[in-house]
């Protein structure tokens, strides 16, 4: 029995479906890609990849980023071409940043996201961005010798800390597209020489799998508020004889479907925003604080209205208001779920905004 058991266990390995042992690869011969940009190209798709800054040898002498570009009918075709362009083995396992060109986003992103979901080396954990007013290739190449990976990582971290646009992974966007039919993702645009290589450019909104449009400025702030993650924002409020600067520190948004006689009659979006006084000359008194709160309520309501107006115009509930309201009224959600897009476009949401200024 003692000898039979291991034999049986070894035979059971044949049933696992593993066709063989994995192939070894030496890391020293690898070019670890960090950033990938995908555009529409003449042959189909154009893929640009960058390694980011590389160190060579123990002393870590700086070596410029390796940037490769290839075209193909499909992503896999372009990826194969990339392999032939490099002296090293091009390894896609470390691609953390995926940039999509505006044209490609307009034509549809499913092919790219699907490839990321299925490929052995790539994964849906990569951060996803849309490049405005330029191609993804231009954005990737904008980093020069240093690459753009560092800048994108900074933007992602800033987004997590609430001081930049919300970063989203390819997996989050793909899930939203599949579940809600729309999704939002941060947009970038190449900077000028005096500025950083890539600048924030609001949010891109996808409907179906194509680009519906961009939300900028107050619209972008409104979208952040709708998803309950407002980024830090300084709002000046004019009081008698002085300007008080208020920082938005947090927020929470709930939504519910209004029903009457069992029929859905409306959508209420309730936002609770927290803020702190950032700069002032004299401590505002209670009345002044009330004034500040009223002003902030007005500003945030305007932002929300702007975002909602635009999203309703596109019929894209990328903030997931419908899905979130379904939790409180599942029966009502069942009525409108099938054609939520039309409902969302036709319903004028009732906004309730409350601002709390914390000490």
């Amino acid at each position: 029995m003692r000898r039979t058991l291991p034999l049986l266990a070894a035979l059971a390995l044949l049933l696992t479906g593993c066709s063989g042992l994995p192939r070894p690869r030496e890391m020293g011969d690898m070019a670890l890609l960090r950033t990938m940009g995908v555009d529409l190209g003449e042959e189909g798709l154009s893929v640009t990849v960058s390694t980011g800054p590389r160190a060579k040898g123990l002393q870590g002498e700086g070596e410029s980023a390796l940037v490769l570009s290839a075209q193909g009918e499909s992503l896999s075709d372009a990826a194969l071409t990339l392999q032939s362009l490099s002296d090293s083995y091009v390894f896609f396992g470390y691609v953390d940043q995926l940039l999509l060109g505006e044209e490609l986003a307009g034509a549809g992103v499913t092919q790219v996201l699907d490839y990321f979901a299925r490929d052995v080396e790539l994964g849906l954990g990569a951060q996803l961005w849309v490049v405005r007013d330029a191609s993804a290739q231009q954005a990737v190449e904008a980093g020069g010798d240093q690459g753009v990976e560092g800048r994108l990582s900074t933007l992602r971290l800033d987004g997590e800390m609430g001081i930049a646009a919300l970063a989203r992974t390819a997996g989050e966007v793909y899930t939203d597209l599949l579940e809600q039919g729309s999704a939002y993702l941060p947009a970038l645009r190449p900077g000028t020489e005096e500025q950083a290589v890539l600048l924030e450019a609001g949010y891109a909104v996808l409907k179906g799998d194509t680009l519906a449009g961009f939300l900028d400025g107050d619209g972008a702030r409104g979208l952040e508020l709708l998803v309950g993650k407002p980024s830090s924002d300084i709002i000046p409020v004019e009081l008698e004889g002085e300007t008080v600067y208020v920082r938005i520190t947090g927020g929470d948004t709930t939504c519910r479907l209004e029903t009457e006689g069992g029929q859905v009659t409306g959508l209420t979006v309730a936002c609770r925003v927290t803020a702190q006084l950032a700069e002032y000359r004299t401590q505002p008194n209670r009345n002044q604080l009330q004034t500040v709160e009223e002003e902030l309520t007005r500003v945030e309501t305007a932002r929300l209205t702007r975002a909602l107006t635009q999203l309703r115009a596109w019929g894209a509930d990328c903030a997931g208001l419908g899905v979130r309201s379904a939790l409180s009224a599942p029966e009502a959600w069942r009525q409108v779920k099938g054609n939520w897009s039309e409902w969302f476009a036709s319903l004028a949401p009732n906004l309730e905004v409350q601002v709390d200024i914390q000490d």
Partner: protein, 500 residues
């Protein structure tokens, strides 16, 4: 261990099948320069003589002179007592020695002489008297080199088995401490003692240990392996299945847990049976430190065992087969360091592991100061030079060094050696099939350990319920001593509770 009566070299019993006589004894010891005889007139009476036989160096000369020869030569009663009562007169008091044994077999007399007795032969008698007067030349009781104590007893076992049993007896003064002696070795005739606490140790385990000792038919017990490998019978495993200690207090703790102790004359250590895996992670100081500190150290030792076992294999698997599992910044460093190294990662790791063993072995074999120099030269200078010359990458050096140093945290060097062997095996497996093969290797290791058993107790008993016996306490950590109310060592002890 089956006794091979029909084998090519059957053990003769009795060894000397001849009548007991002075002539036959002389024949047995012919060619032995240390064999001595002296004919003595009892109280100067030429009609009454005896022959004193002994082995020079095995007996203590002062005792032979004072306790045997002086009374024989000077006691007037010896010339007056009737001829027929002379023998019993000497046996029961005329000589001052602590013990006097009447022997009527040549085998017994030969054995007594070898163990340091002197024998008295009387003309015309078929029996002799033997008096144990062994020499007590031995090393003084020193500090245990391998198990140093910061808080606790500083005595260590020595080469004399009787001194060792006395040290144990001084710790455990109960008469329940039983010490049974067995003679092992055709040529060495080594005394091997079995120690246990009656009423606490499992009688079945004691019986198993003793029967295996009796079945041992070897030439001599000159090294620890002579007992370990024969007694446990687990030859296919590199893992030690009997823990040993240099410290009497640790042996006593094991006896109190219900284990059986084993000592051999000439070896300054004692074994504790049955051996379970948790014993090899414990130190004698575990009970001396605060329980929180002891528990943390115990966990670190287990962690280090995993580290020393898996780290080289994991490094190979991740760097060669699954680079995507390495954090990106670490991967970039590895790539940068690896670029100018001409060898494959597998070769690098295996060579470094081998080099580590070579340096360690060289350091051990050389005398102390030179050994330390070789270690420094090998470890620091050559290692640093190899990295600077791009022969090995620093990441490999760090991985191998961490694995090596983690191995030194093991209290049992035997267990550490077994981990080192398996480390090579797992590294080779990882180089063949990455994490998949590494996981298979780990499964094989667990399977191997689960199959081990010593004296009826599973090796992994502390972590299994296979023995159907509740364990006394968790093995990964050490609970406060007032909570350790159950004995842990014996499987079928009659007395499991060790405190109120």
């Amino acid at each position: 261990m089956p006794h091979r009566d029909g084998g090519p070299h059957p053990r003769k019993d009795p060894r000397y099948d001849m009548p007991l006589s002075l002539e036959n004894l002389e024949e047995v010891f012919s060619g032995c320069v240390d064999y001595m005889e002296r004919r003595v007139y009892l109280n100067g009476d030429r009609e009454r003589t005896t022959t004193v036989c002994y082995l020079l160096g095995m007996t203590r000369n002062e005792r032979v002179s004072d306790y045997i020869l002086r009374p024989l030569a000077q006691d007037p009663a010896l010339s007056r007592v009737p001829e027929g009562e002379l023998f019993s007169h000497l046996q029961y008091g005329a000589l001052y020695n602590l013990a006097a044994l009447r022997r009527d077999k040549l085998d017994d007399v030969v054995n007594d002489l070898i163990l340091g007795s002197c024998a008295l032969f009387f003309p015309g008698r078929q029996d002799v008297l033997t008096f144990p007067v062994p020499t007590e030349e031995k090393r003084g009781v020193g500090e245990p080199d391998n198990e140093p104590a910061l808080k606790g007893s500083r005595e260590s076992f020595v080469e004399s088995i009787r001194t060792n049993t006395a040290m144990v007896r001084r710790h455990l003064k109960a008469p329940d401490l039983k010490i049974r002696e067995h003679i092992v070795g055709r040529q060495s005739r080594t005394m091997v003692d079995v120690l246990y606490l009656e009423g606490i140790a499992d009688p079945e385990t004691v019986e198993r240990v003793e029967s295996r000792l009796d079945e041992l038919d070897i030439d001599g017990v000159e090294a620890a392996g002579n007992l370990e490998e024969y007694l446990t019978g687990n030859l296919a495993t590199p893992f030690p299945t009997m823990a040993f200690t240099q410290r009497p207090d640790r042996l006593c703790q094991a006896l109190l847990e219900g284990r059986v102790g084993l000592m051999a004359d000439g070896l300054p250590l004692a074994w504790m049976a049955p051996g379970t895996i948790d014993q090899f992670f414990r130190t004698s100081q575990d009970r001396a430190y605060h329980w929180l500190a002891a528990s943390a150290l115990s966990l670190i030792r287990y962690l280090c065992a995993a580290l020393t076992l898996l780290l080289p294999g994991l490094y190979i698997a991740l760097v060669t087969f699954h680079p995507e599992a390495i954090p990106s910044k670490l991967a970039l460093s590895i790539v940068a360091a690896k670029q100018e190294v001409p060898f494959s990662t597998v070769f690098e790791v295996l060579i470094m592991l081998l080099a580590f063993e070579v340096i360690q072995e060289a350091g051990l074999r050389l005398p102390g100061p030179i050994g330390a120099t070789v270690s420094i030269l090998g470890g620091l200078v050559v290692g640093n030079a190899a990295v600077e010359a791009h022969i090995v990458s620093p990441a490999v050096l760090i991985a191998v060094a961490i694995a090596g140093v983690a191995g030194y945290t093991q209290p049992s060097q035997d267990f550490g050696n077994a981990l080192r062997l398996w480390r090579f095996l797992l590294a080779i497996l990882a180089s063949l099939g990455g994490l998949f093969a590494l996981a298979l290797g780990c499964a094989a290791l667990i399977y191997h350990l689960a199959g081990l058993e010593t004296f009826g107790v599973p090796y992994l008993a502390p972590f299994t319920t296979g023995s159907q016996n509740l364990r006394g306490h968790p093995s990964l950590i050490r609970l406060p001593l007032p909570l350790l109310k159950w004995r842990d060592g014996a499987v079928h002890t009659k007395n499991r509770r060790n405190q109120k």
